[in-house]
């Protein structure tokens, strides 16, 4: 198995194993650990984070980074809330489209600056993180969105139970996120145009030689990431209802953390959206479980999280190096054996 599975799939397998180990560990530590509330709490939070981690993954795959993602989530959450408060009769689909369009608009700004003006992504998005946030402050003009201003269908949406399986409720927001992430994952693994993201991220020059319009690919990645972040903003609005100008603060680093734990290479070209999803779940699971672990105070949460990210990345890097070396040795031995056999014949 070790010499057949691709590193990507191996990683996803390993992440599932880690997920299982974490669950098993806390089950022995916390009384009544597996209950419906555990799943609900994590799925509610993952519904937002999975979208944002996916958005970040698209950008990181092309050797870039989007630090403005938290500000985009905040702005779209607020703008979407203001939109629905002003037009309570607006159709839900139109509202989602509005959120995604606003997000994509910010993505266009980032994409133009990175892909066409050739300013490094970290500089552009560091700046637009601040700029988009100050636009939100201007737009909000000292007001905030409260859940009373929102129509009932919107605030009910995250809690709507689609179906339940053995007492575990699968709610609408979570399922929507999972479907979106699955679609992006399928596209990235099966569709030729989507594979260009990997080509550009692995080797921009080679991609250019192969006839790929590098700039267009990077631009598209930023626009798609913006649209996904916009959808994340919609989810954020639906879940919390009360939106202030600090909405989504800190999401940029959380999304990078989820992607990196999920095995996305920060230098681009490798990683999967499914991995980023499991990364987001893992980060959230540990976050939620530590609160309930009586042995340590809840103040250890962040310290443990930092250690987890570092361990995940270090172990991944070391094991991958070993795996590659082991496969090379094996291949060499096999070739030598074949050569010997041919010589005998």
């Amino acid at each position: 198995m070790l010499d057949r599975l691709s590193p990507q799939n191996l990683r996803i397998l390993a992440l599932f194993v880690v997920l299982g180990l974490v669950l098993a560990f806390f089950a022995t530590q916390v009384d009544n650990y597996f209950n419906a509330r555990l799943f609900n709490r994590i799925s509610a939070s993952v519904a937002i984070m999975a979208l944002i981690a996916t958005a970040q993954t698209l950008v990181i795959l092309t050797r870039n980074i989007d630090l403005s993602i938290g500000s985009v989530v905040g702005f779209t959450a607020f703008a979407t809330g203001a939109m629905v408060a002003a037009n309570p009769g607006i159709s839900p689909l139109l509202l989602v489209a509005y959120a995604m369009a606003v997000g994509a608009g910010f993505g266009v700004v980032n994409g133009l600056l990175v892909a066409y003006a050739r300013v490094p992504a970290i500089i552009v998005t560091l700046a637009t993180m601040a700029i988009f946030r100050s636009l939100l402050v201007e737009f909000a003009d000292g007001k905030s969105i409260t859940s009373q201003k929102l129509p009932a269908w919107l605030t009910d949406y995250p809690n709507t139970v689609l179906f339940s399986l053995a007492g575990v409720e699968f709610r609408a927001a979570f399922m929507t996120s999972v479907v979106v992430v699955a679609l992006v994952h399928l596209a990235l693994t099966r569709l030729r145009p989507a594979r260009k993201l990997y080509a550009v991220g692995s080797n921009p020059e080679a991609a250019e030689m192969a006839g790929i319009n590098q700039r267009a690919v990077v631009f598209t990645a930023f626009v798609l990431a913006g649209a996904l972040a916009g959808l994340g903003g919609f989810m954020f609005l639906a879940r919390f209802g009360n939106i202030t100008v600090v909405a989504g603060l800190g999401f940029e680093l959380k999304s990078v953390a989820a992607a990196v734990v999920g095995g996305v290479n920060i230098f681009g070209g490798s990683g999967t959206v499914a991995g980023a999803l499991i990364g987001a779940i893992l980060v959230d699971l540990i976050d939620t479980s530590l609160v309930r672990w009586p042995l340590v105070s809840e103040f250890w949460r962040e310290a443990v999280l930092g250690a987890l990210i570092l361990t995940a990345v270090a172990v991944d890097a070391i094991l991958m190096r070993r795996l590659i070396a082991w496969r090379l040795r094996r291949e060499k031995a096999r070739n030598a054996a074949r050569a010997a056999a041919e010589a005998q014949a």
Binding site: I65, L67, I122, I123, A130, V245, L253, A257, L310
Partner: protein, 322 residues
């Protein structure tokens, strides 16, 4: 000199921007040019600008340290914790600085020895160091530090000039000499330009990176203590989010995010620009988030503007040739 010319041009541009901002501020408010406002302007961001000096080394070396603000928080909270445990404040200061060096070495080890990208390692320690700070003080605030400690942070040491500002000046001169006049500084540029070449040239690049991250940790811990002294109280969220302001100042100063280029003079000019710009905006009642947005615009502009000039220059000789 020919190599220095573009650099002089960049610094000249920053200087022009700075003079324009100072002139505008002086015209806007008669308070601006008073000594107390000038000192106050530095005091309000003194911790960030001190860390920006050492961040210049990190980025020229083609790395990044996102954990600086969390280290500031950890050092400030550790000081509060030691103080609560009854440790002598002077000893506590020494211990906090040691924590800084140790944290920097921790980052450096994963980056230089394990070979992980600094963006990822310091993102993890950004979360981890902050977490340790919270473990130390939980959700409490610690205050009631000795009188001399608070005075050091708030009062003038030489005339009206406070200790932190003197420390900034001394650190600037020391680091300027180190970066621009010593072999260590040259190595920082060489490794930042091309680590492989530096390795083949016999430079112990791993050791160099370790030292730079330890410097970064030490200076951040020092800045955290300054924060504790200036504010007179510490909480778990001390200095949260400062890392992005620090990095913005360094990049605005013309330090290349890809390493190998930039100077401390550029960083100093960018620091002065950001401080004066924020101060001027505060004088006309523009609030924090908008101020940060304007600094963001300036950051993008600072990278875009010289690029447009360059491409115009490149096109011209081509036209003459045809």
């Amino acid at each position: 000199m020919t190599i220095l010319k573009p650099l002089l041009g960049w610094e000249g541009f920053l200087l022009a921007v700075l003079i324009a901002i100072i002139a505008a501020n002086a015209a806007l408010s008669p308070q601006f040019l008073t000594l107390s406002n000038q000192i106050n302007l530095f005091q309000l961001s003194i911790e960030k600008i001190i860390v920006a000096l050492v961040m210049t080394f990190v980025i020229i070396n083609a790395e990044i340290d996102l954990s600086v603000a969390s280290m500031m928080g950890l050092s400030a909270c550790a000081f509060g914790w030691f103080f609560q445990q009854g440790v002598d404040p002077v000893a506590a200061i020494g211990l906090c600085l040691l924590i800084g060096v140790a944290g920097g070495a921790f980052n450096g080890w994963f980056i230089a020895r394990v070979g992980l990208p600094s963006l990822v390692v310091t993102l993890a320690t950004l979360i981890g160091f902050r977490g340790l700070a919270r473990v130390l003080v939980e959700d409490r605030g610690v205050s009631g530090f000795p009188q001399w400690f608070g005075d050091l942070g708030q009062k003038g040491l030489i005339g009206p000039v406070p200790f932190a500002l003197i420390a900034f000046a001394v650190l600037f001169v020391a680091l300027f000499v180190l970066l621009q006049r010593t072999g260590f500084g040259r190595k920082t540029y060489v490794i930042g330009t091309n680590r492989d070449v530096a390795d083949y040239a016999g430079i112990d690049t791993g050791r160099h990176k370790m030292i730079i991250f330890m410097m970064s940790g030490l200076v951040s811990a020092f800045a955290g203590l300054l924060f504790a002294a200036r504010v007179g109280a510490v909480r778990g969220d001390v200095a949260q989010g400062f890392e992005l302001d620090v990095i913005t100042m360094v990049l605005l100063g013309g330090v290349s995010i890809f390493g190998g280029a930039g100077s401390l003079m550029g960083t100093l000019l960018a620091i002065l620009i950001v401080l004066n710009l924020r101060n001027g905006m505060a004088l006309v009642n523009i609030t924090g988030h908008i101020q940060t947005g304007v600094v963001g615009l300036l950051l993008i502009g600072s990278v875009l503007v010289p690029r447009i000039n360059l491409s115009a220059l490149r096109r011209r000789p081509q036209k003459e040739a045809t």
